[in-house]
Amino acid sequence: MTLAVSILPEQQLAVLNAAYHQAVSRRRLRLLLGVVVFAAALVLAGFGAEVNLRTLFTYFGNFVSYFDRILTLDSGQRVWTDIGEWFWGLRKWLRMLGETLLISYVGTLIGATFAFCLNFFAAENTSPSPWLRFVVRRLLEFARTVPGIVFALIFVIAFGLGPMAGVLAIAIHSTGALGKLFSEIVENADMKPVEGIRSTGASWLSCMRFAIVPQVTAGYASYALLRFEINVREASVMGFVGAGGIGQELVVAIRKFYYSDVSAILLTIIVTVFIIDISTGWLRGRLFGREART
């Protein structure tokens, strides 16, 4: 069996080819334009950020040797040759790490509670009045957009140095983030139970309690756990501004060039974050099945 490839007549082919080239060249031109604009923005940004490649090349050795130094003990040996010496402050660091975990736990719980109270006012389908929804939404947006550490800086001045400022900063930031996610869950909830409850003459509060809450608790808990994970990372740097936790130790070690301490503290933080990630993942899987993991 022979196959014949049909070839179009010359004229038709030329027209089609021209159309193809035109289409492709237009797309290429647009891509080129995009690339040029992007490159121009990069160059502009390079001036804005005072990028100095010579500094980078001169000091890049420092970056590599920095890691060499944080992996060397005062005695000049590698850190893993003497674990006891490397982790000499383990007891203290573990206590600070515990404090960090507590900060993120308490902050997440307070934030989740506030978000729970506020989100029914922010959701499209349950809010009692439009202007209330507008106000609550703007409030949540504000709490979410201002970075947690900026709140911490201000709270350290208002509430004094210590973990309290960190807890409150994390609580406010979590309220903003969770409030938005929670209200999105409520917006996806089925409204038929609400109508059923309302038809019995129940108040708005009872409608929320008996029609909405049973539908959404699983989603709430899942997001709250996810938030806890994020807050553990966030709490580990709260100490940079004096708001408690392991960050305090770390910033002192980095600023005062206690090299082996830096690597030891970093390693404990990384391991803790791993453990928290894995265990909350496991907990979410246990509580809500695979689907609820997003």
Binding site: A41, L42, L44, A45, G46, F47, G48, A49, E50, V51, N52, T55, L56, Y59, F60, N62, F63, Y66, E99, L102, I103, Y105, V106, L109, F142, T145, V146, P147, I149, V150, L153, I154, F155, I157, A158, F159, G160, G162, P163, M164, V167, R233, E234, S236, V237, F240, V241, G244, L250, V251, I254, R255, F257, L266, I269, I270, V273, F274
Partner: protein, 282 residues
Amino acid sequence: MTEPQEVDTRELRARYPDVFDRPASARLAMPAMIVAAFAILVYGLVDLDFSPSRFFSGLSQLGWISVMMIPPDPGSSLPVYLKALGETLSIALLGTTLAALFALPVSLLAARNIVPSNILRFPVRRFLDSIRGVDTLIWALVWINVVGLGPFAGVLAIAVSDFGAFGKLFSEAIEGADQKQVEGIRASGGSALHEIRFGLLPQVLPVIAGQVLYFIESNTRSATIIGIVGAGGIGLQLAEQIRVLEWQKVSFLILMILVAVAAIDFVSSKLRFAIIGRRAVA
């Protein structure tokens, strides 16, 4: 009209024992969890020095601070602040781009369909994970030690910490790509590099572009923060003004950050829709 039937509860109980008598473990699990959560909360509040008197005196302080913040007023340093804002945006853009450039080749090594060997892939993944486990602020502190104070340290900090995140996200995008096109290239005699260039990249690039844009957006926020430890940008100004208690300037700076973030959000969501179409944006 039918008469309401007598319900024989005893028979129902016998038929569905699980519904009527839930085991004690199932009934007690929820209250136990709530009690435990509450107990940890109380312990935490005590351990972290929460006292009502401290809380309320702090709250009244905070009230004073908010009163002093009004009205927001930059004083005479508006040009300085605008320059700092430009610095912050530059840090976000450059840092993200650098991270994406370096992460693309590494993410190929971490993708299952490119590097099938577990032994090769595992260390790459753990390496990316541990980079991600360290916060941007910590990287900023490290880079300040290396290249000195200033925005350049910020660029490098964002580049490194995003490198970890991008490596993971890109490799997931690559693993999700359709293998048929790759096989098609292979069938027509293409080399491994051809497979990646013509089979994979056209599928993956729009996804990656969307992620990069999203990160530029979220890095505008991170870039405002890293100034607090001395890595340039508007955060530096903000931290300074908070330390010298110039509250009107502080509120002005916060407003500036909010407006800038909203503007970047708007632009990048427009761009993302243009690149990958409305539906593909999750």
